[in-house]
């Protein structure tokens, strides 16, 4: 059986921690010195992908077929020529913000979400990519807003494990879009979200919503969770719309959310002081957990810094492994924390990493 591993994408490289002899041990980084915006361990074939965002030389996509010992550069996503007079964001790739594998019945299918808000698909393990024009060409895209960046971006891609044609993407700030037919048709399913940062008559506009992160459980992929800019929202299996949850202690603001792979009613959030400050509330780092679909939350702090703590967990900085045994979270201050008891207590696995952009369990 493969050892448990955590990938950590940082501003200065890609790190891997391996669970051996009862401890998480960190190995030598890949791409030391280079920003890594996202990574993906493809459970179907063992390939490892890393998206770099080189300060001078642009976005690069690398693939390793030997667990990071060697890497090859792929052509990567790229926008087609921009038509004269095209409105909206420049058709230039700024960042790969999300990478996901298709289902087991579609080998080679990968999805990439980018800034600006492009969704790209590969059918050949990342060797070539095409922009999903059916989403990019939607007229509503011109309403999308940048959220933390100059241009809108796709940070969440949820592939239905029962049917890979059913894909949901989260966009900051453009709502939540869904396709049932592998991208032939799309609809914005952000009904019920509320954008408190907009004028009153625009707060319900689906195309300006800022879902910081959207996730679903493998056991209940019709149920969606989001940590929105304004609040936590949950969308039930009846797809009747997002329900605003105001029960989370301390703050409804934050970036990250993780959901249990075997229980769609159990989810974790990392609250932060909203939204002009974006630091832990009262400088204490805590994690909120619900086990009843958001009707109630518990707050856990055991093992986490409770004094003068200013770590922020960004939208891809919290993850749970595929078996639901481990949780990990990494901060913009370069601290990595792991829990082996469903988030009730945490221990520091690495304290002095570069700023952490994304944390993912391998496999």
């Amino acid at each position: 059986m493969t050892a448990d591993r955590i990938r950590v994408a940082t501003r200065k490289g890609l790190f891997t921690l391996t669970h051996t002899r009862g401890a998480w041990r960190i190995g030598a980084p890949a791409f030391l010195g280079d920003p890594v915006s996202m990574m993906l361990d493809d459970p179907r074939d063992g390939a490892l992908y890393a998206a770099l965002n080189l300060g001078h030389f642009g976005v690069k996509l690398r693939r390793s077929r030997d667990d990071g010992k060697s890497w090859e550069e792929l052509a990567g996503p790229a926008f087609p020529p921009q038509p004269e007079g095209a409105e909206g964001s420049p058709w230039k790739l700024v960042q790969i913000w999300s990478l996901e594998a298709g289902t087991g019945t579609e080998p080679g299918v990968l999805w990439a979400g980018t800034i600006p808000g492009g969704l790209f698909r590969s059918d050949d393990h990342g060797d070539s990519w095409r922009l999903v024009r059916s989403l990019w060409d939607r007229p509503e895209r011109l309403q999308w807003l940048g959220g933390g960046y100059d241009h809108p971006g796709i940070h969440s891609i949820v592939v239905d494990p029962r049917d890979g044609r059913r894909v949901t993407v989260g966009i900051s700030c453009g709502g939540v879009w869904h396709t049932d037919d592998a991208g032939d048709n799309w609809r914005n399913v952000a009904q019920g979200m509320r954008a408190g940062y907009m004028p009153p008559d625009q707060q319900g506009n689906e195309n300006v919503q800022d879902p910081h992160r959207v996730v679903a459980s493998r056991a209940g992929p019709d149920i969606l969770w989001t940590q929105h800019h304004s609040r936590i929202f949950r969308r039930g299996a009846d797809a009747a719309g997002w329900i605003e949850l105001d029960t989370a202690p301390l703050s409804g603001f934050g970036f990250a959310v993780a959901v249990h792979p075997a229980d769609p009613d159990t989810a974790w959030f990392v609250p932060a002081e909203s939204d002009a400050k974006r630091v832990p509330v009262d400088a204490r780092w805590v994690v909120n957990r619900t086990q009843d679909g958001g009707r109630s939350f518990e707050t856990f702090s055991a093992g986490l810094p409770q004094d003068a703590c200013y770590d922020l967990v960004y939208r891809h900085g919290l993850d749970i492994d595929a078996r639901g045994r481990w949780l990990a979270m990494g901060s913009t201050s370069g601290s990595l924390w792991v829990s082996g008891d469903q988030g009730e207590s945490w221990f520091c696995a690495a304290a002095n990493l570069p700023p952490i952009y994304a944390v993912r369990f391998a496999g």
Binding site: H56, F57, E73, F79, P90, L93
Partner: protein
């Protein structure tokens, strides 16, 4: 023919040896290089074929003006330096 040289920073990622190439403009000289080194193109130019925001090019000591069209002229014995701009960190 002009000589074109690439900064060592880019050579961390992709081989980019000095080349002597035909070309009366920066675009033509770069295209001559990229014809044999397609990977390098993505390090210098963006999706739209424009010079990347944080890359700069000097021709005989003068920074080029046309960052999109790359139409700046190059003398037959000119020297082209492709460099990372400090604006990129």
């Amino acid at each position: 023919m002009p000589k074109i040289m690439f900064a060592s920073h880019v050579q961390r990622h992709v081989p980019a040896p000095d080349r002597v190439v035909a070309g009366e403009t920066v675009r033509a000289a770069l295209d001559a290089v990229f014809e044999h080194n397609l990977l390098l193109r993505g390090y210098v130019l963006d999706d739209q074929g424009h010079l990347r925001k944080h890359v700069t090019i000097f021709v005989d000591g003068a920074r080029i003006v046309d960052r999109q069209g790359l139409s700046d002229r190059v003398n037959p014995d000119g020297e082209i330096h492709v460099l990372q701009a400090l604006s990129g960190g």
